[in-house]
């Protein structure tokens, strides 16, 4: 009996050892070196609260036209600032504003319009940059084409096609500007962990205006996926080949170029891809085809995650939300 136990113990240890070594080898074979220096933080504003300029759950951000838009989720509003952080105005719940109980998440600006994923109302709302409501897509929870279950973010292609990260439906939907269903990527309600074009809670989308391609933050698959304008899969990255390692063993997710729950993706002025790598408390920067460039971060003062969402201004400055400290941070290339 003792001999059997000993054999089982030795065999088990050996097997686990092999797996650990394999993980290390695979892991360190896929850790790219940074080719750019990290950005430096140059400014910040905010704090917890509900007054103008304060936040309760800043989970989305967008920058355009010298203004910064922040999804202040638990205050049910979108605050608008100038690039220095001076409060200008807010889009609040109301007839021409956000829906009741709105829980705005990721924000994206394309074609001079602000796209808001309203997680609570299962809707995507589109506003002018002055905060005037243009239209509401969805608004009723469901799995049917054109309906959403907690959209995390939305953006639009040059021809007006709206692309939506349909979080609980495990899919990305492509709709006409007025909300007519065109196609979807992913199987409705079914998580996919390996194949490109399958998702495990997609959280945000960003359209690259230069190429027309769009990127999806495939949150719990710890990867970014890229598609062409017609929704054809191009590539994915985040660890070896972008193949999802189950969260329980994604102990290498903190390595350069890997992710732990990417919650937001944004495109820079030169087509580079910026990712809010939330559980790693950092922002990572890649080329348009997924080559790692650099990463930067600052640990939050309060408990929680220090990176929620990211956006890039025309001059290359990076604006990021810090949900733990309820603040906005501004980062600049060195």
């Amino acid at each position: 009996m003792r001999r059997i136990v000993r054999w089982v113990a030795i065999f088990g240890a050996g097997l686990v050892g092999l797996l650990a070594i394999a993980a290390l080898v695979i892991g360190f074979g896929f850790v790219p070196a940074a080719t750019q220096p990290p950005y430096q933080m140059v400014a910040g504003w905010g704090g917890p609260g509900s007054a103008a300029g304060q936040f309760d759950g800043p989970n989305g951000i967008a920058v355009a036209d010298h203004r910064v838009y922040v999804a202040d989720s638990l205050n049910h509003r979108i605050q608008i600032f100038d690039l220095q952080g001076h409060f200008l105005s807010a889009i609040a719940v109301g007839p021409q504003g956000l829906l009741p109980q709105a829980r705005p998440m990721n924000l994206n600006i394309t074609g001079g319009q602000l796209y808001v994923g309203d997680y609570w109302n299962d809707a995507v709302q589109v506003f002018t940059l002055d905060g005037r409501l243009l239209r509401t897509l969805g608004g009723q929870q469901g799995a049917a084409p054109g309906r959403f279950r907690a959209p995390g973010g939305a953006s639009a292609e040059a021809d007006g096609t709206v692309v939506v990260a349909d979080f609980y439906n495990q899919r990305v939907q492509m709709l006409s500007a007025q909300g007519r269903f065109i196609r979807q990527i992913g199987a409705t309600g079914h998580k996919g962990y390996v194949a490109g074009g399958s998702f495990n809670y997609p959280m945000d989308v960003a359209v690259n205006a230069r190429s027309g391609d769009f990127y999806v933050a495939d949150g719990y698959n710890d990867r970014i996926q890229e598609f062409d304008a017609q929704g054809r899969f191009l590539r994915m990255w985040g660890g070896p080949f972008g193949l999802h390692l189950p969260a329980s063993i994604n102990f290498l997710g903190g390595l350069r170029g890997w992710f732990r729950t990417p919650t937001c993706v944004a495109i820079g002025p030169h087509g580079d891809v910026f990712v809010a790598d939330q559980e790693n408390n950092r922002i990572q920067k890649f080329t348009a085809d997924g080559r790692f460039l650099t990463a930067f971060s600052r640990p939050p003062q309060a408990a929680g995650y220090g990176v929620g969402a990211v956006a890039v201004a025309a001059n290359g400055d990076v604006y990021a939300t810090d949900p733990a400290d309820q603040r906005i941070e501004v980062w600049r290339p060195r």
Partner: protein
Amino acid sequence: MSSKVGNRILTMLGIAFATVLPGLAMAFVAVSPAQAATSAPTAQQAWPADAYVVRVDGLACPFCAYGIEKQFSHMPGVTSTDVNLASGVVVVHVKPGTRFDQARIDKTVQQAGFRLKAIVSQPAAGS
């Protein structure tokens, strides 16, 4: 003979693993400050008398928190839900007299995409 060789190979693998393990643990700690910070044990505390307090596996981000809050908000009698991401604790405040059995709570947590670990506290009798 072959069993001796096999035994030796397995022993070497075991030793290899034992050698790698500390390095692996150090690498894990080095690359995952966020995870280390959020896995600290929570202090014992008094739970509110008007609430179900449940522990949930897998809560990681605001999307998780809002998802589970939204799911509980659809249950009759629920007045509000507080989610602590760091501790994985969800506090579901209910109107007096509201009762849920474990299966109902379990189903709600599952519909939000998570796994119920335990029901820590329930509303006091009579409330």
